[in-house]
Symmetry: C2
Subunit: 195 residues, 2 copies
DNA sequence: GGTGCCATGTAACGCGTTACATGATTAT
DNA sequence: ATAATCATGTAACGCGTTACATGGCACC
């Protein structure tokens, strides 16, 4: 999503100035989304440029107070009532890295996923620890952690499946597509440190 | 990840010109990552600027042929052998939208997740259909689809959990943090069309 | 009366993405 | 010949992010 929608949501509760929005944003997302204050001001300018927000006054302290506009409200309503799109082009770092490793013949995909699995298992432990020491009343934060755990677990299952399939025959590796290219053999990577 | 790493990976197999890389990229990621050709050229320039790649020759057809440099190889090796980071700040659209809905008191979080769940269930059906009509030899693509399905299922489980918790008492909604703000009541959103 | 830190901003960058420009090759 | 498409690139934009600038207020 974007900071834009976040600020719009907060402004839908009433006009506010930048720093107030920064505080509200932190209140809503907590550590899940560390936000540099500067981003609030730039994003507000862009929202104003797009007519979703307007500068209603400059208060006695010289702070710019913004208010959501009608179109802003409309945009927000549409955004909130529109599900996050899930298509077959939904990329993510892990799978793209694996696809590249498989296609390159240059890196061992099995090694890549082994590394990733270790990291993911550690992450789950970390998440669980964080969850354990969280105040039970902080529902939003708990749900956020739960989501991280569930997705990390799904990733583990997927990594297992990948390893299975890579071990089977027919695990062909895609190679260069056309023949109109220089056929010189690819140099091999020196045995790098697997840090 | 980035196109940068993708191109680096492909160039690690040998020098190539832009269009060749475009073809290779499509061969590696297929429909999972539709790539505008223009991006290849701009990314190559940036890689050259950063010294990860160098222009080795302009062939008889006037095409620029790039080769990976030593530092490029190093960078690639490091990237491939470093797991994708999983921290508590890993955001995603769905959970952020929910956190905002919970914090705003302006939108009904239950409605938001209901919409999302419907969409995710449809997505899973779509994924399954795509998977069914995929050539069994296209391992990379099958794994990609599997990943999408697993994560979508994890999301369904999470959405269920969210709905459970939201229905329970103590499901407090966070509100504006400080008191130094104008206390005028927030205007309410008109009953928007839940498209 | 400095030294910090809080509050409010502006400037600039990096990268993914889109749109546009241009020459070569092929089809009609 | 002309239209279409391929192949190669450049220009510009949007947004998230970082770094820098500045004025007030506290506190020692």
């Amino acid at each position: 999503m974007g900071i834009k929608e976040g600020l719009l949501t907060l402004l839908a509760e009433g006009p506010a100035h930048g720093y107030q929005l920064k505080l509200d944003f932190e209140g809503a997302t907590g550590e899940a989304w560390p936000l540099n204050v500067g981003q609030v001001y730039t994003t507000l300018q862009r929202l104003e440029r797009d007519g979703l927000v307007e500068l209603v006054e400059t208060d006695e302290d010289g702070r710019n107070i913004y208010s959501i506009t009608a179109t802003g409200r409309e945009t927000l309503q549409t955004w909130m009532s529109t599900p996050v799109e899930r298509t077959v082009t939904n990329r993510d770092d892990v799978s793209m890295k694996l696809l590249l490793a498989m296609a390159s013949g240059f890196v061992d995909p099995v090694e890549v996923i082994a590394i990733q699995r270790d990291a993911t298992m550690v992450a789950i432990q970390d998440y669980t620890r964080v969850k354990a020491k969280t105040d039970a009343g902080d529902l939003a934060w708990l749900l956020h952690i739960d989501r991280l755990i569930l997705h990390a677990e799904a990733e583990l299952r997927w990594l297992d499946r990948v390893e299975d399939r890579l071990g089977q025959p027919g695990a062909t590796t895609r190679r260069r597509q056309t023949a109109s290219h220089n056929p010189e053999p690819a140099p091999t990577l020196p045995e790098g440190d697997t840090q």
